[in-house]
Point group: C2
Chain length 363, copies 2
């Protein structure tokens, strides 16, 4: 090993400076160098300055790999996320990366093979000794839970929940959102409703559907027609086609997320020539970027991205600083962003900062 690394260094020019090199140049011990780079360590200002000067001369940078090995903290958070064609996720990813980096963590991205089990991904994450896992996609197997608990790694779900008591989850109020949309559409005078589900095993889609369906019943409207879009643009388009081709066409469609709602609008407008918002109402969930674009004007339940990300980061860091703390199950409230893709109810609309929202008139 030693001879090889020497020869490699020889061919690659000057070796990368280590704490020992800095120590030698500064005339102190390696410990002093380490302490100079550790906030709150016991070291005199003079020594710290000597070290800083030597480090500057040598272009020294602490090796975080070596540090990780000894401190047993990699300061790396594994983020599992696929399905990046849904704008909500890239934004979430960017925000997560920002927020974690503010607290001294970097994000390692795991996308997993499309359609594959999440287990190989888990394996890879554990080998890399990530400090924590944020799962924003992929359904977890039961192994996931126990393996992470054995490894002592906190797991935080974003935008989905689980039964496990040891895993934290941050979601928006999916049930209440679905219910609010039901009330909104009922107040708008719609009578033939439809729901487009995401994946069948998605807790998020289930919750939104439940809230929607229950509230519809409470408003005296029957069970909505149901199609499945699998969170996929093309699948959603096909589902929308089948809805609009049916003899009894719905007058309002609630899609389990914006990505599918945008597909629905595309089909309704481009293939069926419908004027969305007048001849048919389409409502989504997320308020991802394009929803607000004028050509769509998608009415949707807005998930507060920044707030959710903050909660994810807070939950992660909490469990990192106190491993005995309980997993949390946080529900962040959202609101209904009212635009033009759905017929408006006569009352209940309010405008604030140029954004329109709606609340049911009576409780």
């Amino acid at each position: 090993m030693a001879p090889r690394s020497i020869s490699r260094a020889a061919e690659a020019g000057p070796r990368i400076a280590t704490a020992h090199d800095v120590a030698r140049l500064a005339g102190v011990s390696q410990s002093a160098v380490s302490r100079a780079f550790t906030a709150g360590a016991s070291i005199s200002p003079e020594t710290r300055d000597k070290v800083a000067e030597a480090a500057r001369k040598l272009g020294y940078r602490p090796n975080l790999v070596a540090r990780s090995l000894i401190t047993r903290r990699s300061h790396v958070i594994g983020v599992a996320m696929a399905y990046l064609e849904n704008q909500f996720y890239p934004r979430a990813l960017e925000a997560l990366s920002q927020a974690f980096s503010t607290r001294g963590y970097q994000v390692m991205l795991f996308t997993g093979k499309p359609g594959a089990s999440s287990d190989p991904m888990l394996e890879e994450m554990l080998r890399h000794k990530v400090d924590a896992l944020v799962m924003a996609s992929a359904s977890l197997s039961s192994r996931f839970d126990v393996e992470c608990q054995n490894a002592g790694i906190p797991v935080v779900l974003m935008n989905r929940r689980t039964e496990s008591r040891s895993i934290s989850s941050i979601t928006s109020d999916n049930r209440q959102g679905g219910a609010l949309i039901a009330a909104f559409l009922a107040a708008g005078g719609h009578r033939h409703l439809a729901f487009m589900a995401g994946s069948e095993n998605s807790s998020t889609s289930q919750d939104r559907e439940e809230g929607f369906t229950h509230a519809l019943a409470a408003h005296g409207l029957g069970t909505p027609r149901r199609v499945v879009g699998l969170y996929d643009f093309d699948q959603a388009a096909a589902a929308m086609r089948s809805l609009l081709s049916a003899p009894e066409r719905p007058d309002a469609v609630f899609c389990a997320n914006d990505h599918m709602a945008l597909a629905a609008i595309n089909v309704a407008r481009a293939e069926f020539g419908l004027e969305v918002g007048r001849e048919i109402s389409i409502v989504g969930f997320d308020d991802a970027g394009p929803a607000a674009w004028p050509v769509f004007g998608l009415t949707t339940y807005a998930q507060p991205l920044r707030a959710m990300v903050e909660e994810v980061v807070a939950a992660t860091c909490a469990r990192l600083s106190d491993p005995t703390s309980q997993a949390v199950r946080t529900i962040v409230p959202g609101w209904l962003a009212v635009r033009s893709s759905a017929r408006l109810p006569p009352v209940g609309l309010t405008v604030r900062d140029g954004l329109t929202t709606w609340m049911p008139p009576e409780v």
Copy 2:
């Protein structure tokens, strides 16, 4: 250290198994365990099986942090990417992550503070000992170059280029793409052209503009009007507003990327009531997801995402396996995806697999 880690282990339950634990259980040396997990190492099948069995019992996983320290290879690629609201980038990120993971590398994501210098990001990447850098956004300072060369870390740019001879870059044919669009619009009978630039310091925007402008001149059309959209949706919308409010309105606008072109379509249609493709032509560059959505039908120069990602990964791995190899400068050819956002020329259109493209009739 030792007493602390013992007490920590005690409170956290069974310690995470190491190669030593496996060795003890299997009745072999730690070296044997290491070799059992190293492809091509000198070890007998029997020993390998014994080790595998013991490892299975203990739930052993090789610690990649420790491995990185000794092999000086982290198997982590730093990917710098911001601007994820432009759909092109999330897709690229997903594809990069997939492709690298196929070759045994994981992706660490660096987004950088919006608007900040890339230097702190670089610092963080070097501390984490990434094996290579893929830069798909952020403009690099000159420090970047030398620091990475000192550290012996290959740098590969995606979708941008640089003067430095030591940095690889993968782009599509931006000049030719701009020229092709000019020819296409000229053939379509447009006479008052405009160009919407991205960022002024973006090589990509510059190249597309150059190709566009030169080819326009060759077709006897004057210098196009020029506005700046800074690759930003709202800025692009504002730029489009100014174009359409001017006394002499252009009959075709070439936007330096799709993201801005989509903003332009939104403004033209929703604010000015124009029928895009008939009253005004709008062309983009990228062929990111929404360009193909029916409501946009954006005519755009298609960058072959998969091919570009493959080239990026190939270039990265090439320099990793042979550090003395030269940096490459690869240009991946694209093609013009013709849809409905721009008036069609009378000749030159061809359809293949349901996709329409266009080539200039004569050379």
